[in-house]
């Protein structure tokens, strides 16, 4: 049994049980899980995020080291790859946008096949890219949809997003009408599926299992828990949305209240989110900020045309030409190589032969 994911799974289960039963046991804990911890989490997240970004940016970028993934700009008649070998700042921005929005590098992914022969094949491996893209975009959509709980009145854009996200409703309307199920948000389902896929590949692909740490499983379980409780509230246990919004609006307006009628699952959901926020700045999830700072991607490949300055460039010991000539002068003269200083014993005309 893989202890790494067992520990992660266990800790997420324990966290859910703690929050659920404490909230069930005494309503005083609702203040803890509904107000104190969310505020604390937000503070830790914001401060931790900024702190980590500052920690990184405190270190300079001494060398301009982009990984070039295409033809350089050189002779005017050779077509450069403007995006993957960006020569200007604008091209770098395009490269970064494609990287951050569409995971361009991951799109290149291949899977190795070792056949007898020896014969090596590299097959297109699109699933990681699809899974990652689905995960991040669905997550973003879910996040934006949740703005409904923090803004009154609900902005048009959020409503429009909900409409698009729930387009499924029309197709299964008559099927579900009798249950009064609200429209199915595609983003939630996609997110659950993507998180499941990302987990399964960590378990079933041998190399990925081998490199995975507990820190890789924990956020997956946590996010799974968040999505799962969210879906549970929306489609099964039917949370009192009005009451829930009263609580969340209380948080954003700094007049926290604990309304009646909010089920315990909601507190588990909120607790998971709080844990995720607090965990974020201290974990690999900081790739959200770090991806902007990666020197192999965010610098132009123009180092021969524009000098990059290293702030800590310091003088070093070098072996000068004079020292070199001092050591080899006789041999150089003998071989007819020009020298700057003539050797003492050798007649001067000999070295003038050459050149």
């Amino acid at each position: 049994m893989n202890t790494k994911y067992m520990y992660s799974l266990l800790s997420v289960i324990v966290l859910s049980l703690i929050s659920y039963f404490l909230v069930e046991a005494a309503s005083g804990f609702k203040v803890l899980f509904g107000v104190i911890i969310p505020y604390l989490a937000l503070i830790v997240f914001v401060a931790g995020f900024i702190n980590r970004m500052m920690y990184w940016t405190r270190s300079p970028v001494p060398f301009c080291i982009p990984t070039t993934c295409g033809q350089q700009k050189s002779l005017p008649w050779i077509k450069p790859n403007r995006i993957d070998n960006p020569f200007s700042k604008r091209a770098v921005i395009v490269r970064m946008l494609l990287e951050i929005v569409f995971f361009r590098s991951l799109f290149r992914n291949t899977r190795l096949k070792l056949k007898s022969g020896p014969k090596i094949a590299y097959n297109l491996e699109i699933f990681l890219w699809v899974g990652a893209l689905a995960f991040h975009w669905a997550f973003l959509t879910v996040l934006l949809r949740h703005l409904r709980f923090f803004i009154e009145p609900v902005p048009m854009l959020v409503q429009a997003l909900e409409k698009v996200d729930a387009f499924f409703r029309i197709e299964i309307l008559y099927d579900v009408a009798q249950f009064g199920l609200p429209g199915v948000y595609l983003s939630g389902i996609v997110l659950l599926a993507a998180v499941t896929y990302l987990f399964l590949r960590r378990v079933f692909i041998p190399n990925v299992r081998y490199i995975s740490l507990a820190a890789d499983f924990f956020p997956l379980f946590l996010i799974f828990g968040i999505v799962f409780t969210g879906i549970l509230m929306r489609y099964v246990t039917k949370i009192d949305v009005v009451a829930a919004k009263e609580l969340t609006m209380g948080l954003v307006t700094f007049h926290p209240t604990i309304p009646e009628g909010v089920s315990s699952i909601f507190y588990v959901h909120l607790f998971f989110v709080s844990i995720l926020l607090m965990y974020f700045p201290f974990s690999k999830l900081m790739h959200l900020g770090g991806v902007f700072l990666s020197p192999t991607r965010n610098l132009p490949a123009d180092t021969r045309a524009t000098r990059h300055v290293n702030p800590w460039n310091y003088p070093v010991h070098v072996h000068t030409y004079e020292e070199y000539e001092d050591e080899f002068r006789e041999k150089m003269v003998e071989a007819g190589l020009p020298v700057v200083k003539q050797p003492v014993e050798t007649p001067p005309d000999e070295s003038e032969e050459k050149e």
């Binding site: 980590r52 301009c64 291949t110 020896p118 021969r304």
Partner: protein, 541 residues
Amino acid sequence: MADLQKPEELYKTDNRPPTTDWMETPSEIKKGIACYAGNPKSLEYVGLPNPRSWSCFDEDWQLPENWQQIIHDGFRERLEKFRSFKVFMDICVRCGACADKCHYFIGTGDPKNMPVLRAELLRSVYRNDFTTAGKILGKLGGARPMTMDVLKEWWSYLFQCSECRRCSVFCPYGIDTAEITIMGRELLNLLGLNIDWIATPVANCYRTGNHLGIQPHAFKDMLDFFQDDIEEITGVRVEPQFNKVGADILFITPSGDVFADPGTYTCMGYMMLFHFLKEKYGFDVTWSTYASEGGNFGFFTSHEMMKRLNSKMYAEAKRLGVKWILGGECGHMWRVINQYMDTMNGPADFLEEPVSPITGTKFENAKSTKMVHITEFTADLLKHGKLDLDKTRNDNLKVTFHDSCNPSRGMGLLDEPRYVIKNVCNHFYEMPENTIREQTFCCGSGSGLNAGEDMELRMAGGLPRANAVKFVHETKGVNTLATICAIDRAALPDLMSYWVPEVTVYGVHEMVGNALLLPGENERQTDLRGEPLPGMEDADE
């Protein structure tokens, strides 16, 4: 050297990892994989710490007593100096996209050769020493303290990385294992842990100007020898110039081209090209015995050592008063020139923005560094029709081109050499697209690993490259592997004779030399290697 297995024994189709966790799986330093330790005299000559006679196979590595503190402090210093290092230590999500992209992993099946795990070897110590989560969670958080076993693991796997950057192409954050290996090797060097195939060339280069330790008179002798060969083949005596004050252009190429076949034929190609240009257009280029090395094994030691060795290029250009510098065919040399030289040893304001004296082309892309790649230079000549060529002299060559790692992923020099090849050869075929251009595979011997004692590693690491060559050999009849890298020219012949013995390794400018019609030359019977030219096979008899 350990006995090398046969290719069919070396090739493993199963590269599944062991069942034990990687931190629990001890690493063994193996003969055939590991390189010999740096010669203490070499370390001493350039002032590297802890010079002593030792071996990586010994139990006791004779480290300074406070070695853990040295590593810790060195680690901290590099985190503070390099944002890349900090960010790459923190943001990896272990998605595994890089895992099967490393030629050493493909060839050896050793899971610690997956780029992500190679980096985790350092990250685990980073977490333990520098992060709160790592300190609290310990092993569960992927952290572990620096021990002798960890150090030996670092040594083993940091010298099984050729800094080729292929993994970085596929990483969604661009995490560059080369950068991590560079830092790791810097840390190892603080304890006097280097391999001799790097340490001795470094010391040689510092003293004599080139890795091979060729002294000035011997350097001239080598080129004299090529003059004789060229004269024998073409009837024309070329006259290279050395250390000439006031020359227009300084030419620097890896000393491997001067010293060992088949690089020597590439060197003859340069000499013939320069002679042609001198005769026809008055081209004035000088070689230097002081800056007689294009390569830079300092790059495989530390940033400081790279700077110390690289300084000779600008120093010599300044002393000779040339207008700009022309650089020969070399891999990591061009990563250093392209991404480091100007920053470290510039600005080269004593040089002029490079302009081809023959075509008038301004090399705008090199206007600050003032150093032009020879395939950029030659491609421009060809485009303007300035060379007289007989392509058919290369008709016996069915050519494919191996993109060298550094010019591809640290520069993007992809189409220039192809343009040159297509202009001097009639038969050119590309290898499969996942194995060329920015996705090219290392020769398996880069970053100083081109030693003799690690032949198993080199043959295994070169397998993906060799396998792609084999594919075009079988499907297109390719018999020639062209390169623009001196380490390739030294390493690929061994690799080819191991995996695809029917294929021969050439430098691009060797083929230029073959095709080039020198003014006043005799009808050539042979190519630069002394092999009969196509159609001249019976001429000898």
